[in-house]
Symmetry: C2
Subunit: 483 residues, 2 copies
């Protein structure tokens, strides 16, 4: 409670990201204001003075902004419209550009790289680790890549080439080459002397890698065990001889699951022969998960790539075409189905009003079943042996909910139109539509997955298209045969 105990020296993490953004916004506005005054020469008599003020302000702003964490600067860049974004970018110290670039989302990074000069690009690239540089490489202007690679040391160049050769969703692409390995036959005293001479351990490593003379992975040694055990002990006695290791071609999705499941912090990465190539750290995994998060919601609506929210209208608009086009095709088919029943509708025009109800609720029920299936697929809960069990269950739910909500809507129809036949059509159509919706909701994501596709991609469009089409067909087909 005494004020002198308050931890004033602790930086609280930025809980209020909004505050941070507002701060940067205000700083940028101040800067524009002063620049504007000088450029418009509204104070010509004080020109020199205001110029100096401007310089001072810019320096102050620069200092403040470069004090932020690169990840925070990246977030600020992503939330600024183009003009302010470039303004902020120009204020970042060249020494920080690399760190900020690596934190940016692809589309924003691309737009900023596009405007950078050759020298600035080279200097930014030199600040990166091999795996980070490999990640950046495809977005760099092709004419600077040979020079950039030539400017690296031999070992680094080879690492960049190796990392760039791995597919972007594989462990190899995120692997850290900077590992510290010790020999299996050393004692802790030898290891400790080695560490003190080296003066540092690769950032955030929780374990040292244990190898034999030929570089084959033999186990991992936690920093803890070096600290709490006697110096005479040999590495072999203390190491974890059965560490969970990954291959360079393992999928990151499954690797991320393994990190969560087995509580990993640092895991060795080996080649097919068991030789140690590098390691994978939990931060890299977290960053991967973060980049993947919310992609599902985009994918469901048929947007495969992340989008810069400040990309030009034309580019963003075009991004949405492929699935809009598919959507339109399905809607056109649904429309033609209604067209086949024009005679029936002319007889009972109330059908036109009742028509969308079953289709609409079918789309929703299908979405619900599909959401559960997509989740079960992602969590590996669904497999060949329990698939039919799940399908039957969803079909039964379809019948149950169809009878319940169909009866309610049937009653409403009866009251509204005073026609029992319409009410009967409503109940029957609802049950059949909800069964079709359940079937579609289970089968579409499973079929997409079987075909090697992302089960989420475009799924909400497909499901609403199919339930609409079948919903109309069932409702009008029943109507035509009963009325």
């Amino acid at each position: 409670m005494e004020p002198e105990h308050h931890p004033d020296q602790l930086i609280k993490h930025h809980r209020h990201t909004r505050e941070l953004l507002n701060q940067i916004s205000t700083l940028l506005e101040k800067q524009s204001l002063v620049t504007g005054l000088v450029e418009r020469q509204e104070m010509p008599q004080h020109q020199l003075v205001s110029f100096l003020v401007q310089r001072q302000q810019a320096n102050h702003l620069r200092q403040q902004i470069n004090h932020f964490h690169p990840a925070d600067i990246a977030m600020a860049l992503e939330s600024l419209p183009k003009e302010q974004r470039n303004q902020l970018w120009d204020l970042i110290d060249t020494g920080h550009l690399g760190a900020v670039l690596i934190e940016l989302s692809d589309p924003v990074r691309e737009s900023l790289l596009h405007d950078m000069g050759r020298d600035q690009l080279m200097r930014a690239a030199w600040q990166l680790e091999s795996d980070e540089l490999a990640d950046l490489l495809p977005q760099l202007p092709s004419h600077i890549i040979p020079d950039l690679l030539a400017s690296l040391e031999h070992e680094d160049r080879e690492q960049v080439k190796t990392a760039a050769a791995f597919p972007p969703d594989s462990v190899g692409a995120l692997m850290d080459f900077d590992i510290l390995s010790v020999r299996i036959d050393n004692t802790l005293d030898v290891v400790l002397r080695f560490l003190r001479r080296r003066g540092s351990i690769p950032e955030d490593s929780a374990v040292l890698m244990v190898v034999d003379r030929s570089g084959y992975l033999k186990g991992t040694l936690s920093l803890e065990s070096i600290l709490v055990n006697d110096g005479e002990t040999r590495v072999e006695e203390l190491m974890n001889s059965k560490p969970i290791a990954f291959h360079t071609d393992d999928s990151l999705q499954q690797t991320a699951n393994a990190f969560e499941r087995y509580n990993l912090i640092t895991a060795p990465v080996i080649n097919a022969h068991g030789q140690l190539l590098g390691c994978l750290n939990v931060e890299a995994v977290l960053e991967y998960i973060h980049k993947e998060s919310k992609k599902d919601i985009l994918a469901q609506a048929g947007l495969r790539e992340e989008e810069d929210i400040f990309a030009p209208v034309w580019r963003s608009g075009r991004n949405r075409w492929p699935w809009l086009a598919l959507n339109l095709c399905i809607a056109f088919i649904a429309s033609r189905i209604i067209g086949q029943f024009e005679d029936t509708i002319t007889q009972v025009v109330a059908l036109a009003a009742l028509l969308p109800i079953t289709a609409n609720i079918g789309g929703n029920a299908g979405n619900q079943a599909m959401a559960l299936v997509i989740r079960s697929l992602a969590l590996h809960q669904l497999n060949r042996s329990n698939f039919s069990h799940l399908l039957i269950k969803e079909l039964m739910i379809g019948v149950m909910n169809g009878l319940l909500w169909g009866s309610i809507m049937g009653l409403a129809t009866w009251i509204l139109y005073d026609r029992f036949d319409l009410a009967l059509i409503m109940v029957s159509a609802m049950v059949v539509t909800l069964v079709v919706a359940a079937l579609t909701g289970v089968l579409i994501p499973v079929a997409l997955k079987q075909a090697g596709q992302d089960p989420v991609l475009g799924s909400s469009i497909l499901i609403s298209g199919i339930t609409d089409t079948f919903g109309f067909l069932i409702f009008l087909g029943l109507a035509a045969s009963i009325i």
Copy 2:
């Protein structure tokens, strides 16, 4: 390349989860078969023999299954239908039950807890850490809780009570009480002696906490710095004096973002006065993220809670009612709107067939805009200052895509029905509907967020409901005034 170098002793992580499940399934089937034979007494003459065989098989099975990682057993339990699930559960050693329970999803855990006896429950609970037990507490049968708490040591009991008092989505609920703190004025030699005497460090801690005499957090000391520095050095000189610390009431969502952004492994948790209470580890954060993942897809379809895919039909079906009901209400309103235009439809029955097209594509376009907004909200890219910029951009995309796809559909309508007025209605309705869809897609998630709600919850139902309703109104309204 030489075979003797192959790392046979390395356990590769289970890349093929399916294999693992198949293995367990086969084991369970074998077990049932033997049990069946004995129970049905089809080999009465060998009864004793087969009984022994069965015992042996069961023991073998038990051994194999208890060899798996608790997280893998949990996953297997989640993917088995009720009967097999209980069969597998009975085979798990009492000593592992706690570890497996804590890895299970809520609904599956609940169903298993329901069938456990009092003694078994107590023994499983004793295996858990305070924060884990607090997590389990709300699901335990209320009559055993007092006894369970009474059976704990005083310190543990207080910790469980403390942890249980925090809201489930706060840092306090995931906080680890088991921390190792050292005093700011110690030397590394003193710290090292202390660690050796203690013999262990809390699992997966990357740092030790540094406190003053009154327990106020002063910094963190990485294990690395203890290893690579001279024993005479004082903790104060080496510690990170500005660690990123969290408060017990910080939201886990934002804390997870901070862990990703600042590459944290272990972070101190403090109270409002800066006193050290515990720590938060990256594994707990990863587990939280994993549990949250794919929840969005459920939430979008109006399913707030995760669901046991093998829950009874009745219970699963009921889970889906609230949003189906809302959906039905909206669909009913949309239907009444069409009802108002029955005269117009009687005049030109083609309208009934063309009606769903604009509404349908509006729903899709609205979903696309909404997906981007939800993602931007989650990544904190959207704020007061850039909101109008985004809204205007989306409206412009609506106009652009409305004109493009509206013209295509208009042309199709003209060719199909040979009526220019219908084509004109189609183009105009498409533009207006896509603008309304963009407006809804941006405003709904932002409004939900402003109201303190999850911007994802039910969003796909709301958006399709609103675009349907407006789509019908716009299309038929235009038709009524033009025809």
